[in-house]
C-alpha cells in the first residue's frame, strides 16, 4: 500500500485557486466550508510565496488524538478520514490541527458547529465506496476509482502533488536538482516529522 501525502511546490504555485475551485466543485462543498485554500506569505513583497493548504493526512494525526469521540481513522493508504455519524462538532480537532484543515458548518446559535468536514484526499468516508450516502457526507471517492485527488490533478503549474510519498518526493527532488532551488516541502516536517532532502 502506498503512503499518500500532499506536497505543494511553493516555487510553482501561482495562486490561481484552481485547486480550491476543483475541490469545491468535485465534492459539492457548501458555502462557508473550504477544504482547500491558498495562502500567500509576504504578499506583494520580494520573495512572496503562495501555498495551497488542506488536510496533510498527518502521521500520528493530532485531530485523531484529541477527538473526544474517537471518530477518526487512518486508511491502509495512510489517509486520515473521519465518520460524520460519530462526530459531535466539538471543534477540538481545529485547535489541534497544525494546518487549519477541519471546517464546520454553522448550524445553530452562538458558535455551535455542525459535523466537521475536511479534505478526504478524495477518498470518501466510512460508507461503502461511491454510494449516494458516502457522496452526500464526504464527497467523491476518486481513490476508489483509481484516480488521485482532483486538486492536484487539475493544478495548472503542477505545483500541487498528491500521491504516494516516494513518487511525489522523487518528482520534487528532480525538479529541485534541475532548476537549482526549492523552498522545501511546506508542512512536511510538522505533518510527517520528516522532510525531503534536496
Amino acid at each position: 500500500m502506498a503512503r499518500m501525502k500532499v506536497l505543494c511546490d511553493a516555487d510553482r504555485c501561482i495562486e490561481c485557486n484552481a485547486c480550491v475551485t476543483a475541490c469545491k466543485n468535485e465534492h459539492e462543498i457548501p458555502w462557508g466550508i473550504n477544504r482547500r485554500r491558498v495562502v500567500t506569505i509576504n504578499d506583494g513583497k520580494p520573495g512572496e510565496r503562495s501555498i495551497s493548504m488542506a488536510c496533510m493526512h498527518c502521521t500520528d494525526a493530532p485531530c485523531a488524538a484529541v477527538c473526544p469521540v474517537n471518530c477518526f481513522y487512518t486508511t491502509a493508504d495512510a489517509v486520515v478520514l473521519h465518520s460524520k455519524d460519530l462526530c459531535i462538532g466539538c471543534g477540538y480537532c481545529f485547535y489541534a490541527c497544525p494546518f487549519g484543515a477541519p471546517q464546520y458548518p454553522k448550524v445553530g446559535n452562538f458558535g455551535s458547529r455542525g459535523k466537521m468536514d475536511k479534505c478526504t484526499f478524495c477518498a470518501g468516508g466510512p460508507e461503502a465506496d461511491n454510494t449516494k450516502a458516502e457522496y452526500e457526507k464526504y464527497g467523491a471517492n476518486r481513490l476508489a476509482e483509481g484516480k488521485l485527488p482532483l486538486c492536484a490533478e487539475m493544478c495548472s503549474t503542477k505545483s500541487l502533488l498528491a500521491g504516494d510519498s516516494d513518487v511525489i518526493a522523487q518528482i520534487y527532488k528532480e525538479r529541485v536538482s534541475k532548476r537549482g532551488y526549492g523552498s522545501g516541502a511546506w508542512g512536511w516536517q510538522t505533518a510527517y516529522r520528516e522532510n525531503i532532502a534536496t
Binding site: N34, T40, P68, I88, G100, G111, G180, S183
Partner: protein
C-alpha cells in the same frame, strides 16, 4: 572633414558599446536564483508559533497557513489534563475516604434538641440548588469530553457514546447560562456574610475543629472560615469558568485566534477539574461528613444544638434577634412524633 567626423562618431559608438558590454557582462554571468529572497518555512516557524499569510476567502482563520503549536495543545489535552484531572479528583476522593475512616461522621454532640432554627431562606436555597444542579450536570458533561473516550466509550460503543456526547455537549453549552446566573446571584446574596472576621483566624488555627476530637468546633458566625474560603473559591473559580467557557462557546469571536482558543480550553480544563474536586469535598461535608448539615439546604432549618456547636456566634445573634422580637420566627415548635 566629413569623413573624419564619421570615423570619430564610429569610434565613439564602438567605445560606448564596448563599455556597456563590459558593464553588463558580470550581471549576465551571475546565475539567477529566484529563491534567494523567498520566504522559508523553517525560518518562519523559528520566529513565530504560526505562519500567517493572506487568503482570498472570507474566513480569516484560514489565513493561518501553519500552526504547529496545535501539537503542544494536543499534548496538554491528551496527557497533562488527564493527569491533572485524575490526580485532583481521585486524590480528593482518597483524602475524603481516609478522613471519613479516621474521623467518622461528625455527630451533633448534644444530640438533637428537636427545636429548629431557620438557616437558609427559600431564595437562598433556590440559588444554591440552581448553581449546584447545573454545576453537577456541567461537571459530568465536561468530564465526559476529556475522560469519556477512555472510560465510557469502550463499554458504551461508538454510536451510543457519540449520541450521548453530542447531547451532553448541547446540555453543557446551554446550562452554562443558568450556572452563570446562579454564580452571580450567589455572589450578591452571600457576599455580606463572607468578609473575613477575627473569629475566622481562630477558626483556621483550630483547623475548624475537624482535626481534633469532640467539641472542638471553634466559634463562627453564619459562615465559618472554611465556608468563606469555599465561597470565594466558588466565586473566583466560577468567574474563571464562565469567562473561559464563553470564549469556547463563542469561538473565534472578536478576533480570538486559534492560540487564544487553546489557552481558553487549557484554562477551562484545569480550573474545571480543580472545581470538581473542591465541590466533591463540599458535598462530602454537607452530607455524609456531618450530621445535621444537609437539612440546612434541603429544608432550610437546622437543629438548635447543631447551630450551637458549629456556628455559635451566629446562634447567639439569632437568639438575640428573637429576644428582641424582630424578624421571622426562629424557633419552630417540635413536631409531634
Amino acid at each position: 572633414m566629413a569623413k573624419l567626423a564619421v570615423q570619430i562618431r564610429f569610434i565613439a559608438v564602438a567605445l560606448a558599446l564596448a563599455l556597456m558590454l563590459a558593464l553588463a557582462a558580470p550581471a549576465s554571468a551571475q546565475r539567477v536564483d529566484p529563491n534567494a529572497s523567498a520566504v522559508q518555512e523553517q525560518q518562519l516557524l523559528k520566529g513565530l508559533s504560526t505562519i500567517q499569510g493572506r487568503g482570498s476567502i472570507p474566513d480569516v482563520k484560514s489565513y493561518t497557513l501553519e500552526h504547529p503549536a496545535g501539537r503542544d495543545w494536543r499534548q496538554f489535552h491528551t496527557v497533562w489534563l488527564k493527569w491533572i484531572g485524575g490526580l485532583a479528583i481521585i486524590g480528593m476522593l482518597a483524602m475524603l475516604t481516609i478522613f471519613y475512616m479516621w474521623r467518622g461522621r461528625m455527630r451533633i454532640e448534644g444530640g438533637r434538641s428537636g427545636r429548629k432554627l431557620v438557616r437558609f431562606t427559600g431564595v437562598e436555597r433556590f440559588v444554591h440548588w440552581l448553581t449546584a444542579s447545573t454545576f453537577v450536570i456541567l461537571g459530568i458533561t465536561g468530564l465526559n469530553i476529556t475522560f469519556g473516550r477512555a472510560l465510557i466509550l469502550p463499554w458504551m460503543g461508538p454510536e451510543a457514546f457519540s449520541a450521548w456526547s453530542e447531547y451532553a455537549k448541547y446540555v453543557h453549552n446551554y446550562l452554562s447560562f443558568a450556572f452563570t446566573i446562579g454564580v452571580v446571584l450567589m455572589f450578591l446574596m452571600w457576599i455580606g456574610q463572607n468578609f473575613p472576621t477575627a473569629a475566622d483566624i481562630q477558626w483556621l488555627k483550630a483547623g475548624g475543629g475537624m482535626l481534633k476530637g469532640h467539641h472542638a468546633a471553634p466559634p463562627a458566625y453564619k459562615f465559618n472560615a472554611g465556608q468563606k474560603i469555599l465561597y470565594w473559591l466558588i466565586i473566583v473559580g466560577g468567574v474563571a469558568m464562565i469567562i473561559s467557557g464563553f470564549m469556547l462557546l463563542f469561538p473565534f469571536y472578536y478576533g480570538l485566534n486559534v492560540g487564544d482558543m487553546e489557552l481558553a480550553e487549557i484554562f477551562h480544563g484545569v480550573v474545571g477539574v480543580m472545581f470538581v474536586a473542591l465541590i466533591i469535598a463540599h458535598i462530602y461535608l454537607g452530607t455524609l461528613g456531618m450530621e445535621g448539615a444537609f437539612e440546612a439546604m434541603s429544608e432550610g432549618t437546622v437543629d438548635l444544638n447543631w447551630a450551637k456547636e458549629h456556628h455559635s456566634l451566629w446562634y447567639q445573634q439569632e437568639m438575640q434577634r428573637e429576644a428582641r422580637g424582630k424578624g421571622e420566627p426562629m424557633v419552630t415548635p417540635t413536631p409531634a412524633e
